[in-house]
């Protein structure tokens, strides 16, 4: 009887601990999800819900049949010759930006850069959903930037979400 009671108590404790763990982890990411509102949540949520019944294959087939992508590529770049974001984004294609579970970039270069006191600490081309605190919005040459200490970010649309890419300071 005593043994049984002890076992039951242990099981109960385990269940309570497990429940606390689940609650803690759930509230953490739900909380992060809430803070992520305003566009930053894109990295936290899995935004996978289809709003269209038409598949990507159907869309691509139509676009290719009409050559609608190719036709616009050059004009697109010309129209936006001041910025050429495609180039900026592609500069460091191999950069591996890890995101922690709250969607903040775990930029390995950040810690190293700060420790060494290096001026440009985040690699060019690094993309983030949320800017660090204390940034200044600047328009230079008609282009929007955010300066965060020594790092310059440029906003761009990823789909319809505004995100940011690390770029060289404006000339």
């Amino acid at each position: 009887m005593n043994v049984r009671r002890a076992v039951m108590r242990r099981i109960r404790t385990g269940v309570v601990l497990a429940a606390v763990f689940v609650m803690a982890s759930a509230s953490t990411s739900v909380d992060a999800q809430r803070r992520g509102g305003g566009g930053g949540g894109a990295q936290v949520n899995r935004n996978v819900t289809r709003t269209s019944v038409r598949s990507d294959q159907t869309v691509n087939r139509n676009v290719n049949a009409n050559r609608d992508i190719d036709r616009n590529v050059n004009r697109d770049v010309d129209v936006n010759r001041n910025i050429d974001v495609d180039r900026d984004i592609n500069v460091d294609r191999d950069i591996d930006v890890d995101y922690d579970r709250w969607g903040h970039p775990v930029a390995r270069g950040v810690a190293a850069g700060v420790a060494a006191g290096v001026a440009t600490s985040i690699a060019l081309g690094t993309r983030v959903a949320v800017l660090p605190a204390g940034c200044t919005s600047i328009i230079a040459g008609g282009v929007a930037y955010s300066q965060c200490d020594s790092t310059w970010y440029q906003p761009y649309y990823s789909g319809t979400t505004v995100q940011y890419v690390v770029v060289n300071p404006p000339q």
Binding site: S25, A26, S29, V30, Q33, G37, G38, G39, G41, A42, Q43, N45, R46, N47, V48, T49, R50, T51, S52, V53, R54, S55, D56, T58, V59, N62, V63, N66, D68, I69, R71, N72, R75, D76, V79, N80, I83, V85, D86, N90, V97, D98, Y99, G103, P105, R127, A129, I139, G142, V143, A144, P155, Y156, Y157, S158, G159, T160, T161, V162, Q163
Partner: protein, 261 residues
Amino acid sequence: MKQIVLMLSLCAATTLAQGPPAERPDVAGHDGGVDERAIASLTKMTDFLKTVQTFSIDSESSKDEIVDTDMKIQKMATSEITVRRPDRFHAQVRSDDRDLDFFYDGQTLTVFSVRQNHYATTPVPPTIARTLDAARARYGIDIPLADFLQMAAGEDFRSSITGAGYIGTSRIDGVECDHLAIRQADVDWQVWIEKDQTPVPRRLVVTTKAEPTQPQFVATLTWNLSPQINEKQFTFTPPPNASRIMFARKKAAEETSGGRP
């Protein structure tokens, strides 16, 4: 023991609530089962939409987002879209996460982020249908309720359908509608189509089957078939201090969202 009895009675109640089997539609699980009434209703709607040159749709919608692998969070939005076929639309989306205005004037598409005061403009094809496709393929931009705009432009959706059922009559905002359930390879969808002389869709539910959680997009639509059109509403004029940004091509966009573990 008491619990078991309770569970059994709950099961019985659930079974009763589902009604007699005869009233169940012949869709669930029966790929290839296509009810002619469903197809007839769908065809009536698409034929009608093709005849409407200008219209506006107000909608209220919800969209599931997934956190913690399997928890669904419902995000709400309202949108208003005004269309003048074949080459003008203007849309406003006000959602929990972002407020967006879309402008299409037959030559360029502009997406304006109201809260951040950013906008991006890109040259696009000369029709609504091709512009919607190009924006989605190039930049991953989904314009609200684009499917109905594509139907109005004459796209035949029936080739993707693997099953279709006629569920029955249902009232949306007090108006009698045909309720249809449709199966496709990647999504299931339901649509409620007005039964009267203006067979417009009044409600849409899209279920994403590729996801284990089967998240849904649900929209209720209010149609205006003779909206006030002002030519200026299709053209974007940047507000003071608005700054122009770029669209990233879809490949880059996907890489960003794929950066999470």
